[in-house]
């Protein structure tokens, strides 16, 4: 369930009402004509309280899958937003105003996401929305948001979110197409042109399979074996055996997220398959390494720089932001950062930058500012947004990592 929304700004004022009302009352009796001035004075009085500022706070709305099957996305995303909203407020807020985060938990349910977004827009009257951990939740919210004309930064990955471009919708993560292209590019550089593909039948895996087949065709790589499995399967050795026995196969790519790829990785090792093995960005996290154990050694995958924050070279444009985010997050929550929290970081920083540039929270101005952000070096990559591209990352924002002795290592 969603946590209760923080009190309306109106309510906050009402709580402080008694002194203000008396003040107005006195003034009304004496100088009716300066009522307006008196009201301002009264407001000034209430603002003496440290919590409530002179102006309404900037309200950033958010709907994330903090519980449920996609909790591994929503949980670090919400933690990141809370961390940086607090930090911003400690440093004097934004445009001199307090920033308030209004959050609801959609628990991975698209219809709940739609309801909560309607509530954010109508009831909470937020200035901007960052959210949508899953593609389903994001796409359910898009029509409502487009109609309400409020800038929306989505944290979900599917290509449909930003292709074709929707006027009010922006997207932080790279699409699976970029991940596929990054992997295939690496394969090509190693001279591997005949590959086997094994993917989950869930939304992520199925979409990954499609884009991999398309990109492979475009790049002259032949997919000679194409197998699938159910995301909840506990054994995929039958599928892997088929791939191994396919003639001419030179490398294997597993496109999926969750625990499925860990099982594929273990089975791959158990069968003693020696071919180069690739995973997608869907499992680029330390918890995958923990699950897959030794079996993960030697596999490669595309990931953001965040995963190798400790070893990223100092002269890298992302060095400062990546190490800074990792440290701040891990200091506060005592758990390791994930790529997904990184999307929330970038989304929030872009929102702040856009509001600053717009000089107000006017939705149209903020949207225009967002659309023109160039060269923002974030945790996920360096964003170059434009009216034609509301995602702003190219495929080489992915780094190819290899697992060495149970740790991620950057492949140069």
């Amino acid at each position: 369930m969603g946590r209760p929304a923080p009190p309306e700004p109106g309510q906050a004022h009402k709580n402080k009402a008694p002194p203000g009302h008396t003040q107005i009352g006195v003034i009304m009796k004496t100088k009716l004509k300066t009522l307006a001035v008196g009201a301002v004075a009264a407001l000034g009085l209430t603002s003496l309280s440290p919590v409530v500022k002179a102006e309404d706070p900037i309200r950033i709305g958010s709907f994330l899958s903090v519980t449920g099957p996609a909790a591994f996305l929503g949980d670090p995303e919400l933690k990141t937003l809370e961390l940086y909203v607090d930090q911003l407020n400690e440093n004097g807020g934004l445009l001199g105003r307090e920033v308030q985060l209004v959050h609801y938990d959609d628990s991975g349910d698209a219809s709940k996401a739609r309801t909560f977004v309607t509530r954010l827009l109508r009831q909470d009257k937020v200035d901007l929305i960052i959210g949508g951990s899953t593609t389903g939740a994001t796409m359910a919210a898009v029509p409502v948001i487009e109609q309400a004309r409020v800038p929306f930064i989505s944290l979900a990955g599917a290509e449909t979110i930003s292709t074709p471009v929707k006027k009010w919708v922006f997207k932080m993560p790279q699409s699976d197409r970029q991940a596929a292209r990054r992997v295939l590019t690496d394969m090509k550089e190693r001279g591997l042109t005949h590959i086997g593909l094994i993917s989950g039948t869930g939304g992520f895996g199925a979409s990954g399979r499609n884009v991999t087949l398309e990109e492979a065709k475009a790049m002259g790589i032949e997919v000679v074996a194409d197998e699938t499995y159910n995301p909840k399967d506990t054994d995929v050795t039958a599928q892997l055996t088929r791939i191994r026995n396919t003639e001419g196969v030179q490398a294997v790519l597993n496109f999926d997220f969750g625990q499925g790829p860990a099982i594929v990785t273990k089975n791959y090792k158990q069968l003693g398959i020696e071919l180069p093995f690739y995973q997608s960005h869907g499992v680029a996290s330390d918890s995958f390494l923990k699950l897959a154990g030794d079996a993960a050694n030697g596999l490669r995958l595309p990931a953001t720089a965040l995963l190798v924050a400790d070893t990223i070279p100092d002269n890298d444009p992302q060095h400062g932001v990546v190490t800074g985010y990792k440290q701040a997050y891990e200091d506060r929550y005592n758990s390791s950062v994930s790529t997904f929290g990184g999307y929330a970081y970038d989304g929030f920083q872009l929102a702040v930058q856009a509001i600053k540039q717009a000089g107000s929270t006017d939705p149209a101005k903020v949207r225009d500012a967002l659309e023109n952000i160039q060269g923002y070096a974030g945790v996920t990559g360096t964003y170059h947004l434009s009216p034609e591209d509301h995602m702003g990352l190219s495929y080489d924002s992915f780094r190819i990592l290899e697992v060495k002795d149970g740790h991620w290592a950057l492949v140069e």
Partner: protein, 291 residues
């Protein structure tokens, strides 16, 4: 060619052994009360997750396993005392719905207190897999199969030889007559839930090195286990093992020889066919019910 066949067979055995072990857990409560306990999957989860959590609290692995088994048994008895016993006069369908509610509740508790991440446990044997005829067989699958067989024998002895087992059977056949014969039926039912939870937790523990574990792992395992139990004929422990292996093998052969896309469809066709011709399952009792 043959190595391929062996590999698919071994895959099927690994899957089937897991399903069989889960299916066994359903038989006990079904025998005692004709209730299909849909919280059985959650007992599996408590077995696996409980061990992971206790290991995380710096307990040695064997102690953690025992702790998780005790925890699950207590949960089973509490489930009976707090949810099933108060509704003792309700009909079977109501009780089944109560177990569905209990499963959602237990899953929620686990999610809240133990987190949402997947965890692994180390396998029991030092060697990971054996190579037979060019195919790989996991040692853990052998453990699972072996323990499933031991449990089948133990359950057969329990129901056939022990007073408690006979009391459970008597309760399931006719509650009122059993009570007249001096059997405390509510106590017997509580015992059945406790033992069944213990079985489920043991199964959850043994399969975790292969399947991993998380708060929601009971949904899929519980469902497949139920299907296996239904194929074999609910209430028959031999049927549960045969049903599990049949399900696992048909999944693996379909994935291997036909297409992995149809892997989940073919077993269900088999189930439909079996239940169409043998409504009581392969090993279910065909005795007509007395009216």
């Amino acid at each position: 060619m043959f190595s391929e066949f062996f590999q698919f067979t071994f895959s099927g055995i690994t899957l089937g052994a897991i399903y069989a072990l889960v299916a066994l857990g359903f038989t006990l409560i079904y025998n005692a009360s004709h209730v299909i306990n849909f919280a059985q999957g959650e007992f599996l989860m408590i077995g696996g997750m409980g061990t992971v959590v206790l290991v995380g609290a710096d307990l040695p692995l064997p102690a953690a396993m025992v702790g998780a088994l005790v925890l699950a048994t207590v949960a089973g008895i509490l489930l009976h005392r707090l949810a099933i016993a108060p509704a003792r006069d309700a009909d079977v369908v109501t009780l089944i719905i109560i177990t569905i509610g209990a499963s959602i509740f237990l899953r929620g508790l686990a999610q809240f207190f133990w987190g949402k991440e997947y965890h692994a446990l180390p396998r029991f044997s030092a060697t990971e897999s054996l190579s037979i005829g060019g195919a790989t067989l996991l040692t853990q699958s052998l453990w699972i199969l072996g323990i499933a067989v031991v449990l089948v024998v133990a359950l057969a002895l329990f129901f056939g030889r022990s007073r408690l087992g006979k009391a459970i059977l008597a309760t399931s056949m006719n509650k009122d007559a059993a009570r007249l014969a001096g059997i405390k039926t509510q106590v017997i039912l509580g015992v059945a839930f406790g033992i069944s939870a213990l079985l489920g937790a043991a199964a959850g523990l043994i399969v975790t090195p292969i399947t991993f574990t998380a708060y929601d792992v009971g949904i899929m395992l519980g469902l497949k286990g139920f299907v296996a139990a239904a194929i074999g004929g609910l209430g028959s422990s031999t049927g549960a093992v045969v049903g599990g292996l049949l399900l696992g093998l048909s999944e693996a052969y379909t994935a291997g020889y036909i297409s992995s896309d149809y892997k989940d469809a073919v077993p269900f066709v088999i189930i439909l066919a079996i239940l169409f011709f043998l409504p009581n399952g392969l090993f279910g009792s065909r005795a007509a019910e007395r009216v």
